[in-house]
Point group: C2
DNA sequence: AGCCTATACTCAACATATTGAGTATGTCAA
DNA sequence: TTGACATACTCAATATGTTGAGTATAGGCT
């Protein structure tokens, strides 16, 4: 359900095509909501039926016609209805943690390699977020929307930093003996 | 796909019924993998067809018959095949972050209330994990499996701590003015 | 005596997400 | 000029996850 509300939120900022929304998801929303183009198009279709959004069909020469969606009063009402509902933490399904659990039965070198690879990936993402964060520092008095967007970016930053710190912690325990952590002490 | 591999991993530790697996998921695996009983039963059925697990039917007086599943050599081979494959970070879909983004258009008091509520929830979970962590301290020389399990628990601990820290950060920026963060400075 | 919880599993319907193909054209660079 | 990439959307199949009901009985509590 919340995909619809995420779309309603980004449409509150400005009317957009499905394609635009997908772009915006990738660049700034992706740290807390992943959705494919197909999902967005399908959801927009459903939301249109529900009356939460409407669109203008903009004929284009050459390219396919654009559907520029905007939020309707009914959509705003739905957003307001949803807003105060309590949220639950998102369920987590982390393959990497399963691999750590299975570590007792599998070659440790493979786990160590994977942890190093993942650490690097999280570091790359962290650096992208830090570049985005630097953008916020240059504007002395940003619009209200930007301030809230910044708070979501902070979540992304922390998330990547936390992953890196955990990878380091695990690698420090696994790497010294290279195939046995029996001698490593906890904490 | 990885649900099957998670089940294979817990079955590597010991043969279990679907019911048992579900219990174990809830208590110790839930910090990185959530799955309902129904999902587990269905997945076990598919895995049995694939030959990755087999079961003994234990007739029980009164209760329905037990299916005690164990991993087969084919299942072990599948786990070994899967193990070195690179993992991707799990896609995130966090309602709360969407609400933060929508904060510019919605009553701030509702967001603040929700952040406080969520902070408390993460604190409760953190305390449960800390109680579990204390269990590991008492065993001086734990079996190998327990050591890896401990590393996954560390991820859960960090995750909750990180959420709490972010909630505090956001609340500190939002709360002072109670309905406007214009005057708050970044970082 | 009646109710709740735990054990133990099955089936069905629905919702959500992923993957891949298909349509159509403009722009830019090798 | 060929090919990659961006724009812009649609359809279909499959995979995965959620929700709710249904079957059955033991044991403990009120």
């Amino acid at each position: 359900m919340a995909l619809a509300h995420t779309i309603l939120t980004v449409l509150s900022e400005q009317p957009s095509t499905g394609y635009d929304i997908s772009k915006r998801f990738e660049e700034s929303v992706s740290c807390y909501w992943k959705a494919s183009q197909q999902q967005i198009y399908r959801e927009l279709g459903k939301m249109e039926v529900a009356g939460w959004v409407s669109f203008d069909l903009i004929p284009q020469a050459g390219k396919p016609d654009k559907k520029v969606y905007r939020i309707t009063p009914a959509g705003q009402a739905e957003l307001a209805r949803w807003y105060p509902e309590p949220t639950e933490p998102a369920p987590i399904r982390e393959d990497l943690l399963v691999k750590v659990l299975a570590g007792a039965f599998m070659p440790q070198a493979q786990l160590v390699a994977e942890l190093r690879r993942r650490r690097q990936g999280h570091l790359d993402q962290l650096m992208r977020y830090q570049a985005m964060e630097a953008q916020y520092q240059v504007h002395p008095n940003p619009p209200r929307q930007e301030q809230y967007r910044y708070l979501t970016l902070r979540r992304g930053l922390r998330y990547e930093q936390d992953w890196i710190a955990w990878c380091d912690e695990v690698l420090a325990l696994l790497a010294p003996t290279a195939d046995d952590i029996t001698t490593a002490h906890y904490r």
